[in-house]
Symmetry: C2
Subunit: 139 residues, 2 copies
Amino acid sequence: MKIGELARRTGLSLDTIRYYERIGLLPPADRNTARQRDYDPSILTWIAFLRRLKTTGMPIRDMVRYAALRAQGEETAAERGALLRHHRDAVQAHVDELHACLAVLDTKIAGYAGTTREDVNHDPDDQRPGPAPDAQRRR
Amino acid sequence: MKIGELARRTGLSLDTIRYYERIGLLPPADRNTARQRDYDPSILTWIAFLRRLKTTGMPIRDMVRYAALRAQGEETAAERGALLRHHRDAVQAHVDELHACLAVLDTKIAGYAGTTREDVNHDPDDQRPGPAPDAQRRR
DNA sequence: CTAGGTGCTGGAGCGCACTCCAGGTCAAGC
DNA sequence: GCTTGACCTGGAGTGCGCTCCAGCACCTAG
């Protein structure tokens, strides 16, 4: 598989794939006779996993660390496991935080629900809006 | 309340507070006789809300949009409500995605659990690791 | 009267994660 | 033989969200 097809199949851009290789997220690709990158389909699994790490907010430098450990082989398994457990906990904590935020958002949205009616608080934004409601105070 | 105290109470840096004001996230602060910013405590509520928007991944430009609408007063309430509902849905979608990722992470971590034993797959990372497990292939 | 602390402004700089570009190679189709 | 298109490299540029800095003003304590 050449880089163009890999890009289509992963949704990554050509530049991003090459960038990921440069920084060590992807292993140095094999090359065909024309020195073009020639990927084994197994790279798709790895990229899918990288995408999950990214989705869950892992910074690239940590992904690079994980990738480096993985490239070193079997004896780094314990460290990789620890890294993932640590990340899992961070993600879980973030999810909890998001749930709390969602509750606040829903409350606020409920405050806006009666919009243009007068049966709810004037401005759900704050108790003492100070300079807010008198508006047009743009300098 | 002067900017230093606000910084202590919010955990934002002085620079961040001034930056937020510059870009319109915070309303232009009142000034005391020495032209120093003098905050009403109600700003704390607003900043707490901004922090939630940020935690939930709203880009600053969208927060600025929301802040601008809010500063325009009552007649933008509907639009603000729509904006929040839209964001809430995005956050919910992201949370769902995170749950899926957590499941994958847990599976992978389980694969690492038997680390240094041989009763689990050699390398939980992929089915056909290609150049991975033979290691030290750093150029 | 002076020193230290806190605040002010405008503007430069930074780390991150890409993204774009110029100038080139190579293989295949017309 | 020539064009087209996919790919190559090294390096510069971008947008975001701050963060830092120089040089100055002001207030309070000693």
